[in-house]
């Protein structure tokens, strides 16, 4: 243990400010074709993700926030190559995901897992908990059934469930417990990256805190890297190291969590923060709210120029014609907006 600690400290001393990049996404696009008629003629495309670039550092949590339809989940799925990207590259631990053959992909898959939003829908109701958690082990490792049962019990203990319940079915568990089963399944193969797609959105407030605490504990214990997708700005602030704000398939702003919350630069980030209600009547009564007009436009016909220009309270003519380029205004704090002055 001591030897390990010194190694970690030495590594930390060598590179104090440069965490290792685990996932590097460059100019990623995912367009879904819109077809019409019996011949499935392509008449357009839904630009679910339209040119995003970001890095996820090993051992950190990148939060991805945005409204429904902004492309958050599609990014998560494309990262794991559950969707084929239309354009762009995803480099996972030095290897380009797009170049992998089916066999090569199968080798990488155990290292990247997913936790889903709906704990009622993502577990097979006809399988026992032990077979749900054991399935990845059967699929990717050659273990004897005894070794597997031991591993399943260990995993159940890790996520705070009683190992004696291994032979129960999902319907016998509450929502929070089911989400724990989903987490146990995701960590069963010791992955590097876990894409968490709104893992707490379907849970009650008091249970949300339990699940988030568990995820943080597991991150510390197993050195996990999370892509945490959520629309809950409060929870993202708590769990994330860096945050990317998405709107209509593009990243509007990306920064360290503190600089994003304390010094939001993009008008959309400010509006989003202002829309989130504060659980304090005194603050609510006095704070000024930015209420955006209208709805998020359809991703099949995004507006020209900046995609946010149709709802932006500060938009000028330039915003409606020219797409803002991504700029880094201070180290680690990037924004795509014409109105943010260069520093």
């Amino acid at each position: 243990m001591d030897a390990e600690m010194t190694v970690v400290q030495e590594q930390a001393a060598e590179a104090p400010e440069m965490p290792e990049v685990l996932v590097s996404v460059r100019d990623l696009k995912k367009h879904f074709p819109v077809t019409k008629g019996a011949l499935r003629r392509k008449v357009g495309a839904v630009r679910a993700v339209d040119g995003v670039s970001f890095d996820i550092m090993r051992g950190q949590t990148l939060g991805l926030v945005g409204e429904s339809g902004s492309g958050k989940s599609t990014i998560g799925r494309t990262l794991l190559r559950l969707e084929e990207p239309t354009e762009g590259t995803v480099v996972f631990d030095g290897g380009d995901m797009a170049e992998l053959s089916a066999r090569g992909l199968r080798k990488v898959r155990p290292r990247m897992q997913m936790v889903f939003q709906d704990p009622h829908a993502c577990l097979n109701p006809r399988m026992t908990v032990s077979s749900i958690i054991g399935e990845p082990l059967v699929e990717h490792l050659s273990m004897t059934s005894r070794e597997r049962n031991e591993r399943v019990e260990e995993l159940l203990g890790l996520v705070g469930l009683n190992p004696e319940h291994a032979n129960r079915y999902p319907h016998e568990f509450s929502g929070g417990q089911r989400q724990r089963i989903g987490i146990a399944r995701a960590i069963s193969l010791n992955p590097d990256l876990i894409v968490c797609d709104e893992p707490i959105a379907a849970l009650d407030v008091s249970i949300q805190a339990q699940v988030v605490n568990l995820m943080e504990e597991l991150q510390d214990l197993l050195g996990l890297t999370y892509l945490f997708i959520s629309h809950d700005l409060g929870m993202i602030r708590h769990i994330a190291d860096r945050v990317a704000v998405m709107y209509l398939g593009r990243i509007m702003e990306l920064a360290d969590v503190d600089s994003l919350y304390d010094n939001p630069l993009h008008p959309y980030t400010r509006a989003l923060q202002s829309s989130a209600p504060v659980p304090d009547p005194a603050v609510e009564a006095t704070r000024e709210k930015i209420v955006l007009e209208g709805d998020i436009p359809s991703p099949s016909s995004p507006p020209p120029g900046c995609v946010f220009s149709t709802r932006c309270p500060e938009a000028v003519d330039r915003c409606r014609s020219e797409v803002p380029v991504w700029r880094e205004v201070s180290p680690g704090h990037g924004v795509a907006c014409h109105l943010v002055p260069a520093i």
Binding site: D204, V205, H231, L233, L272, P277, V291, D295
Partner: protein
Amino acid sequence: MTVDPTPVLRVTDLTTRFNTQDGTVHAVNGVSFDLADGEVLGVVGESGSGKSVTMMSLLRLIPTPPGEILAGQAIFEGDDLLSMDLGDLRKVRGGKVGFIFQDPMTSLNPVVTVGDQIVESLAVHQPGRRKAMRLRALELLQLVGIPSPEERLRCYPYELSGGMRQRVMIAIALACNPKVLVADEPTTALDVTIQAQILELVKGLREKLGMAVIWITHDLGVVAGLVDRVLVMYGGQIVEDAPVDEFYAQPRHPYSQGLLASLPSATSRGDKLVNIQGQPPDLRSAPASCSFAPRCPHAFDRCDRENPVLAAVSATRKVACWLDEVPVLVGAQSDETAKGQVGHGR
């Protein structure tokens, strides 16, 4: 806050059960509260705490069987909603009491235009000439801030976005100038920026029209900005009834303290979130003890023996907790002691 001696709605001892194959579910157990004229009342609680069933029971909207309203009174303008003739109750539903449901997609009829759905409500309660009702529908769509309302009248629900559909629901609920508007998690299915629009709209409408509002939610942030008074429900009972400022400054019931402390904003980054241990109660047994006792960090032997009743602890507040005979508890948001009191981690 409105101080009105005669409440517009007075509910006493409402008890609702569901007789299912797995046994009797005690969904609402002796709920009593008053709603003052023009007041906005927030009802918070987790899923299964009985928030929705309480409000549905008031208008007898729960399916019977399996549901059964065993006891209670709901006095609205001098009449008991729970015992009145069904024909009279129909005049109240959608007339003097408007209802907004959580999911605007499933509560609007998909094959009827928006305009016809609003007119339908008017035709039942305030029949008039079709043209006049059509004009009123147009006026309502303008009131709830729908752009180009003339065109929208002819739209079907699927042609509108979630926020627009919820505005239509509000327009239908407001069609007959209700005295009371019951909103059952109306913004839960919406994005935050759209939720902010709906909240501003409801605040504005309430000032303009002066109706009383019952707002059911599980979001303590929404409650803080909107309501005058908070009811906290747990296990089918009201455990705390307090003015909103006092509730956030100093929650009295251990469950309220736990709820407020478990919000991520109450914890500094890097610290573990405070959580309430355990699971919500199983409502299949009649509440003989305090239903929060198994999760309560302060529970003592009396909590397991007797179920506390909602009792006044000051002129404005009521709490259902035996602990209130013990000196005042600490506010959950204010300092570290509260965190220590409400179970930490595992």
